[in-house]
Symmetry: C2
Subunit: 197 residues, 2 copies
Protein backbone atom coordinates (compact mmCIF):
# COMPACT_ATOMS: atom_id res chain seq x y z
CA UNK A 1 0.00 0.00 0.00
CA UNK A 2 1.11 3.55 -0.67
CA UNK A 3 0.31 4.73 2.82
CA UNK A 4 1.99 3.45 6.00
CA UNK A 5 0.11 0.98 8.18
CA UNK A 6 -2.24 2.77 10.55
CA UNK A 7 -2.42 5.82 8.34
CA UNK A 8 -6.16 5.51 7.90
CA UNK A 9 -6.77 5.19 11.61
CA UNK A 10 -4.56 8.20 12.28
CA UNK A 11 -6.39 10.27 9.68
CA UNK A 12 -9.69 9.20 11.13
CA UNK A 13 -8.63 10.31 14.58
CA UNK A 14 -7.34 13.57 13.15
CA UNK A 15 -10.66 14.10 11.38
CA UNK A 16 -12.54 13.38 14.58
CA UNK A 17 -10.38 15.77 16.54
CA UNK A 18 -10.64 18.64 14.07
CA UNK A 19 -14.30 18.04 13.25
CA UNK A 20 -15.15 17.88 16.93
CA UNK A 21 -13.63 21.28 17.57
CA UNK A 22 -15.24 22.91 14.52
CA UNK A 23 -18.66 21.39 15.10
CA UNK A 24 -18.76 22.15 18.82
CA UNK A 25 -17.79 25.74 18.06
CA UNK A 26 -20.02 26.40 15.05
CA UNK A 27 -22.77 23.79 15.23
CA UNK A 28 -23.29 20.50 13.41
CA UNK A 29 -25.75 21.52 10.72
CA UNK A 30 -23.99 24.87 10.22
CA UNK A 31 -20.64 23.28 9.41
CA UNK A 32 -20.17 21.73 5.99
CA UNK A 33 -18.10 18.70 5.06
CA UNK A 34 -15.70 20.85 3.05
CA UNK A 35 -14.98 23.00 6.09
CA UNK A 36 -14.39 19.95 8.24
CA UNK A 37 -11.99 18.30 5.83
CA UNK A 38 -10.10 21.51 5.03
CA UNK A 39 -9.39 21.79 8.75
CA UNK A 40 -7.83 18.34 8.67
CA UNK A 41 -5.90 18.95 5.44
CA UNK A 42 -7.87 16.57 3.24
CA UNK A 43 -10.71 16.92 0.74
CA UNK A 44 -14.35 15.94 0.89
CA UNK A 45 -13.71 12.80 -1.14
CA UNK A 46 -11.48 11.51 1.62
CA UNK A 47 -14.15 12.20 4.19
CA UNK A 48 -16.42 9.56 2.70
CA UNK A 49 -13.74 6.89 2.87
CA UNK A 50 -13.82 7.33 6.65
CA UNK A 51 -17.50 8.02 7.29
CA UNK A 52 -20.52 6.84 5.35
CA UNK A 53 -22.31 10.13 5.86
CA UNK A 54 -22.21 13.29 7.89
CA UNK A 55 -24.55 11.65 10.39
CA UNK A 56 -22.10 8.77 10.81
CA UNK A 57 -19.47 11.33 11.69
CA UNK A 58 -21.79 12.75 14.33
CA UNK A 59 -22.12 9.33 15.90
CA UNK A 60 -18.36 8.79 15.92
CA UNK A 61 -17.99 12.25 17.39
CA UNK A 62 -20.46 11.64 20.21
CA UNK A 63 -18.75 8.38 21.05
CA UNK A 64 -15.32 10.01 21.03
CA UNK A 65 -16.30 13.14 22.94
CA UNK A 66 -18.15 11.39 25.75
CA UNK A 67 -15.28 8.95 26.14
CA UNK A 68 -12.90 11.89 26.49
CA UNK A 69 -15.16 13.42 29.13
CA UNK A 70 -15.13 10.21 31.15
CA UNK A 71 -11.35 10.07 30.86
CA UNK A 72 -11.17 13.58 32.27
CA UNK A 73 -13.18 12.41 35.25
CA UNK A 74 -10.80 9.50 35.68
CA UNK A 75 -7.98 12.01 36.02
CA UNK A 76 -9.62 13.75 38.97
CA UNK A 77 -7.02 13.51 41.76
CA UNK A 78 -9.44 13.62 44.71
CA UNK A 79 -10.74 10.70 46.75
CA UNK A 80 -13.60 11.87 48.93
CA UNK A 81 -16.94 12.39 47.20
CA UNK A 82 -17.18 16.03 48.22
CA UNK A 83 -13.70 16.97 46.99
CA UNK A 84 -14.11 14.95 43.80
CA UNK A 85 -17.41 16.59 42.95
CA UNK A 86 -16.26 20.10 43.80
CA UNK A 87 -13.23 19.63 41.57
CA UNK A 88 -15.40 18.67 38.60
CA UNK A 89 -17.83 21.43 39.38
CA UNK A 90 -15.11 24.06 39.32
CA UNK A 91 -13.68 22.63 36.13
CA UNK A 92 -17.00 22.54 34.29
CA UNK A 93 -18.40 25.84 35.54
CA UNK A 94 -15.36 27.89 34.57
CA UNK A 95 -15.06 30.93 32.31
CA UNK A 96 -12.57 29.01 30.20
CA UNK A 97 -15.13 26.30 29.51
CA UNK A 98 -17.76 28.92 28.67
CA UNK A 99 -15.42 30.72 26.28
CA UNK A 100 -14.00 27.64 24.57
CA UNK A 101 -16.73 25.30 23.35
CA UNK A 102 -14.31 23.89 20.78
CA UNK A 103 -12.40 22.09 23.54
CA UNK A 104 -15.29 21.62 25.96
CA UNK A 105 -18.09 19.21 26.73
CA UNK A 106 -20.16 18.07 23.77
CA UNK A 107 -23.51 18.20 25.57
CA UNK A 108 -24.17 21.94 25.87
CA UNK A 109 -22.68 22.49 22.40
CA UNK A 110 -24.64 19.83 20.51
CA UNK A 111 -27.41 18.67 22.85
CA UNK A 112 -30.20 20.41 20.97
CA UNK A 113 -28.97 19.11 17.60
CA UNK A 114 -28.62 15.58 18.93
CA UNK A 115 -32.24 15.84 20.06
CA UNK A 116 -33.18 16.52 16.41
CA UNK A 117 -31.05 13.73 14.96
CA UNK A 118 -32.39 10.29 14.06
CA UNK A 119 -32.91 7.51 16.55
CA UNK A 120 -29.60 5.75 15.94
CA UNK A 121 -27.78 8.89 17.04
CA UNK A 122 -29.89 9.27 20.17
CA UNK A 123 -29.51 5.60 21.03
CA UNK A 124 -25.73 5.88 20.98
CA UNK A 125 -25.84 9.16 22.87
CA UNK A 126 -28.05 7.80 25.64
CA UNK A 127 -25.90 4.70 25.97
CA UNK A 128 -22.63 6.61 26.29
CA UNK A 129 -24.12 9.29 28.50
CA UNK A 130 -25.49 6.67 30.86
CA UNK A 131 -21.98 5.32 31.40
CA UNK A 132 -21.08 8.74 32.75
CA UNK A 133 -24.18 8.88 34.92
CA UNK A 134 -23.22 5.57 36.50
CA UNK A 135 -19.78 6.92 37.37
CA UNK A 136 -21.25 10.11 38.76
CA UNK A 137 -23.89 8.24 40.76
CA UNK A 138 -21.15 6.47 42.70
CA UNK A 139 -19.98 9.87 43.93
CA UNK A 140 -23.38 11.48 44.48
CA UNK A 141 -25.32 8.56 45.88
CA UNK A 142 -27.95 8.02 43.17
CA UNK A 143 -28.49 8.17 39.45
CA UNK A 144 -31.32 10.61 39.99
CA UNK A 145 -28.99 13.06 41.68
CA UNK A 146 -26.41 12.47 38.95
CA UNK A 147 -28.92 13.39 36.22
CA UNK A 148 -29.95 16.55 38.07
CA UNK A 149 -26.28 17.46 38.54
CA UNK A 150 -25.58 17.13 34.82
CA UNK A 151 -28.72 19.09 33.91
CA UNK A 152 -27.58 21.96 36.08
CA UNK A 153 -24.10 22.00 34.51
CA UNK A 154 -25.37 21.76 30.94
CA UNK A 155 -28.02 24.43 31.42
CA UNK A 156 -25.48 26.77 32.98
CA UNK A 157 -23.13 26.40 30.02
CA UNK A 158 -25.91 26.93 27.48
CA UNK A 159 -27.13 30.05 29.27
CA UNK A 160 -23.68 31.49 30.02
CA UNK A 161 -22.46 31.08 26.45
CA UNK A 162 -25.41 33.07 25.14
CA UNK A 163 -24.64 36.03 27.42
CA UNK A 164 -22.93 38.94 25.69
CA UNK A 165 -20.59 40.03 28.50
CA UNK A 166 -18.13 38.32 30.80
CA UNK A 167 -19.90 39.78 33.80
CA UNK A 168 -23.15 38.09 32.84
CA UNK A 169 -21.44 34.80 31.99
CA UNK A 170 -19.87 34.82 35.45
CA UNK A 171 -23.21 35.58 37.07
CA UNK A 172 -24.78 32.50 35.46
CA UNK A 173 -22.04 29.99 36.21
CA UNK A 174 -21.52 31.50 39.66
CA UNK A 175 -25.19 31.12 40.50
CA UNK A 176 -25.20 27.50 39.37
CA UNK A 177 -22.04 26.69 41.27
CA UNK A 178 -23.30 28.21 44.50
CA UNK A 179 -26.65 26.51 44.14
CA UNK A 180 -25.13 23.09 43.41
CA UNK A 181 -22.57 23.18 46.19
CA UNK A 182 -25.27 23.99 48.70
CA UNK A 183 -27.83 21.54 47.34
CA UNK A 184 -25.40 18.64 47.09
CA UNK A 185 -24.29 19.03 50.69
CA UNK A 186 -27.91 18.49 51.67
CA UNK A 187 -29.07 15.91 49.15
CA UNK A 188 -26.07 13.69 48.46
CA UNK A 189 -25.32 10.57 50.43
CA UNK A 190 -22.06 12.17 51.41
CA UNK A 191 -23.81 15.23 52.76
CA UNK A 192 -26.12 13.04 54.79
CA UNK A 193 -23.42 10.83 56.21
CA UNK A 194 -20.77 13.50 56.66
CA UNK A 195 -22.50 16.81 57.36
CA UNK A 196 -20.02 19.75 57.51
CA UNK A 197 -18.59 20.32 61.02
Amino acid sequence: MRYPAGHKQEKRQELLRVSGALIKANGFSATGVDTLTQGAGVTSGSFYSHFGSKTELLKALIDNELQISREMWAGNPHDTAEEWVNFELDRYLSLGHVNHPESGCVIPALGAEIARADTSVKDLYAQELHKGVVILAKRLGSESLAWAFICQLVGALVLARAMPTTKEKKAVIGASKQFLKHALQVQSTHGHTHPPS
Copy 2:
Protein backbone atom coordinates in the same frame (compact mmCIF):
# COMPACT_ATOMS: atom_id res chain seq x y z
CA MET B 1 -53.49 50.39 -0.69
CA ARG B 2 -54.48 47.00 -2.03
CA TYR B 3 -54.27 45.30 1.33
CA PRO B 4 -56.43 46.16 4.34
CA ALA B 5 -54.90 48.28 7.08
CA GLY B 6 -52.94 46.18 9.52
CA HIS B 7 -52.38 43.45 6.96
CA LYS B 8 -48.63 43.75 7.15
CA GLN B 9 -48.60 43.53 10.92
CA GLU B 10 -50.84 40.50 10.81
CA LYS B 11 -48.63 38.78 8.26
CA ARG B 12 -45.58 39.63 10.34
CA GLN B 13 -47.16 38.05 13.40
CA GLU B 14 -48.17 35.03 11.34
CA LEU B 15 -44.62 34.72 10.06
CA LEU B 16 -43.26 34.98 13.59
CA ARG B 17 -45.67 32.36 14.85
CA VAL B 18 -44.99 29.84 12.07
CA SER B 19 -41.25 30.52 11.94
CA GLY B 20 -41.00 30.17 15.69
CA ALA B 21 -42.57 26.74 15.62
CA LEU B 22 -40.48 25.52 12.68
CA ILE B 23 -37.21 26.92 14.00
CA LYS B 24 -37.69 25.66 17.55
CA ALA B 25 -38.49 22.21 16.17
CA ASN B 26 -35.79 21.96 13.49
CA GLY B 27 -33.14 24.48 14.44
CA PHE B 28 -32.37 27.97 13.20
CA SER B 29 -29.51 27.31 10.81
CA ALA B 30 -31.11 24.08 9.61
CA THR B 31 -34.32 25.79 8.50
CA GLY B 32 -34.26 27.80 5.28
CA VAL B 33 -36.17 30.95 4.44
CA ASP B 34 -38.19 29.10 1.79
CA THR B 35 -39.37 26.57 4.35
CA LEU B 36 -40.32 29.31 6.79
CA THR B 37 -42.33 31.29 4.25
CA GLN B 38 -44.02 28.23 2.75
CA GLY B 39 -45.29 27.45 6.22
CA ALA B 40 -46.89 30.89 6.38
CA GLY B 41 -48.29 30.72 2.85
CA VAL B 42 -46.04 33.36 1.30
CA THR B 43 -42.84 33.36 -0.73
CA SER B 44 -39.27 34.29 0.13
CA GLY B 45 -39.64 37.70 -1.51
CA SER B 46 -42.29 38.59 1.02
CA PHE B 47 -40.05 37.53 3.86
CA TYR B 48 -37.61 40.34 3.13
CA SER B 49 -40.33 42.98 3.24
CA HIS B 50 -40.82 42.03 6.90
CA PHE B 51 -37.29 41.22 8.00
CA GLY B 52 -34.01 42.63 6.75
CA SER B 53 -32.28 39.28 7.06
CA LYS B 54 -32.67 35.87 8.61
CA THR B 55 -30.77 37.15 11.63
CA GLU B 56 -33.29 39.96 12.07
CA LEU B 57 -36.00 37.33 12.17
CA LEU B 58 -34.09 35.54 14.91
CA LYS B 59 -34.06 38.71 16.98
CA ALA B 60 -37.79 39.29 16.47
CA LEU B 61 -38.34 35.66 17.38
CA ILE B 62 -36.37 35.86 20.61
CA ASP B 63 -38.22 39.00 21.61
CA ASN B 64 -41.58 37.43 20.84
CA GLU B 65 -40.87 34.05 22.43
CA LEU B 66 -39.51 35.38 25.70
CA GLN B 67 -42.44 37.76 25.96
CA ILE B 68 -44.82 34.83 25.54
CA SER B 69 -42.98 32.94 28.27
CA ARG B 70 -43.37 35.83 30.67
CA GLU B 71 -47.05 36.07 29.81
CA MET B 72 -47.43 32.40 30.70
CA TRP B 73 -45.91 33.13 34.08
CA ALA B 74 -48.36 35.98 34.52
CA GLY B 75 -51.18 33.47 34.06
CA ASN B 76 -50.00 31.33 36.97
CA PRO B 77 -53.01 31.23 39.33
CA HIS B 78 -51.10 30.69 42.57
CA ASP B 79 -50.16 33.27 45.16
CA THR B 80 -47.69 31.80 47.59
CA ALA B 81 -44.11 31.46 46.35
CA GLU B 82 -43.99 27.73 46.89
CA GLU B 83 -47.21 27.01 45.01
CA TRP B 84 -46.33 29.45 42.24
CA VAL B 85 -42.91 27.87 41.70
CA ASN B 86 -44.16 24.30 41.88
CA PHE B 87 -46.79 25.10 39.28
CA GLU B 88 -44.19 26.45 36.82
CA LEU B 89 -41.87 23.57 37.60
CA ASP B 90 -44.54 21.00 36.76
CA ARG B 91 -45.46 22.87 33.61
CA TYR B 92 -41.88 23.19 32.35
CA LEU B 93 -40.67 19.72 33.35
CA SER B 94 -43.48 17.85 31.64
CA LEU B 95 -43.38 15.16 28.98
CA GLY B 96 -45.54 17.38 26.76
CA HIS B 97 -42.93 20.12 26.86
CA VAL B 98 -40.17 17.62 26.10
CA ASN B 99 -42.08 16.19 23.16
CA HIS B 100 -43.24 19.50 21.68
CA PRO B 101 -40.38 21.94 21.23
CA GLU B 102 -42.38 23.73 18.53
CA SER B 103 -44.72 25.15 21.17
CA GLY B 104 -42.26 25.25 24.05
CA CYS B 105 -39.64 27.50 25.59
CA VAL B 106 -37.14 29.01 23.17
CA ILE B 107 -34.11 28.60 25.45
CA PRO B 108 -33.47 24.85 25.33
CA ALA B 109 -34.38 24.80 21.63
CA LEU B 110 -32.17 27.65 20.45
CA GLY B 111 -29.83 28.46 23.33
CA ALA B 112 -26.76 26.96 21.70
CA GLU B 113 -27.45 28.72 18.40
CA ILE B 114 -28.05 32.04 20.11
CA ALA B 115 -24.65 31.59 21.75
CA ARG B 116 -23.14 31.41 18.25
CA ALA B 117 -25.04 34.39 16.87
CA ASP B 118 -23.63 37.89 16.68
CA THR B 119 -23.53 40.34 19.58
CA SER B 120 -26.72 42.19 18.69
CA VAL B 121 -28.66 38.94 19.07
CA LYS B 122 -27.07 38.11 22.39
CA ASP B 123 -27.62 41.65 23.68
CA LEU B 124 -31.33 41.41 23.00
CA TYR B 125 -31.50 37.89 24.41
CA ALA B 126 -29.77 38.84 27.65
CA GLN B 127 -31.98 41.89 28.05
CA GLU B 128 -35.23 39.98 27.59
CA LEU B 129 -34.08 37.01 29.62
CA HIS B 130 -33.13 39.27 32.49
CA LYS B 131 -36.69 40.57 32.66
CA GLY B 132 -37.78 37.02 33.38
CA VAL B 133 -35.05 36.54 35.97
CA VAL B 134 -36.27 39.63 37.81
CA ILE B 135 -39.79 38.21 37.94
CA LEU B 136 -38.54 34.84 39.11
CA ALA B 137 -36.27 36.40 41.72
CA LYS B 138 -39.30 37.89 43.43
CA ARG B 139 -40.60 34.37 43.98
CA LEU B 140 -37.32 32.67 44.83
CA GLY B 141 -35.66 35.36 46.90
CA SER B 142 -32.63 36.24 44.76
CA GLU B 143 -31.51 36.58 41.16
CA SER B 144 -28.78 34.07 41.81
CA LEU B 145 -31.32 31.43 42.75
CA ALA B 146 -33.44 32.42 39.75
CA TRP B 147 -30.52 31.86 37.38
CA ALA B 148 -29.76 28.47 38.92
CA PHE B 149 -33.44 27.53 38.67
CA ILE B 150 -33.55 28.37 34.97
CA CYS B 151 -30.29 26.54 34.30
CA GLN B 152 -31.72 23.38 35.83
CA LEU B 153 -34.89 23.61 33.76
CA VAL B 154 -33.08 24.30 30.51
CA GLY B 155 -30.51 21.57 31.04
CA ALA B 156 -33.24 19.07 31.83
CA LEU B 157 -35.10 19.88 28.61
CA VAL B 158 -31.95 19.66 26.50
CA LEU B 159 -31.01 16.32 28.02
CA ALA B 160 -34.51 14.82 28.00
CA ARG B 161 -35.15 15.73 24.38
CA ALA B 162 -32.01 13.90 23.28
CA MET B 163 -33.09 10.69 24.99
CA PRO B 164 -34.49 8.05 22.63
CA THR B 165 -37.23 6.61 24.86
CA THR B 166 -40.05 8.02 26.95
CA LYS B 167 -38.75 6.14 29.98
CA GLU B 168 -35.42 7.90 29.77
CA LYS B 169 -37.00 11.29 29.12
CA LYS B 170 -39.09 10.83 32.25
CA ALA B 171 -36.05 9.81 34.27
CA VAL B 172 -34.28 13.05 33.36
CA ILE B 173 -37.12 15.48 34.00
CA GLY B 174 -38.17 13.51 37.09
CA ALA B 175 -34.69 13.75 38.55
CA SER B 176 -34.55 17.48 37.93
CA LYS B 177 -37.98 18.05 39.41
CA GLN B 178 -37.23 16.10 42.55
CA PHE B 179 -33.88 17.80 42.97
CA LEU B 180 -35.29 21.29 42.48
CA LYS B 181 -38.26 20.85 44.77
CA HIS B 182 -35.98 19.68 47.55
CA ALA B 183 -33.27 22.28 46.95
CA LEU B 184 -35.66 25.22 46.72
CA GLN B 185 -37.32 24.35 50.01
CA VAL B 186 -33.92 24.71 51.63
CA GLN B 187 -32.38 27.59 49.69
CA SER B 188 -35.25 29.94 48.85
CA THR B 189 -36.33 32.78 51.07
CA HIS B 190 -39.71 31.12 51.25
CA GLY B 191 -38.19 27.91 52.42
CA HIS B 192 -36.30 29.72 55.13
CA THR B 193 -39.23 31.76 56.34
CA HIS B 194 -41.89 29.09 55.93
CA PRO B 195 -40.27 25.68 56.44
CA PRO B 196 -42.73 22.83 55.81
CA SER B 197 -44.57 21.88 59.00
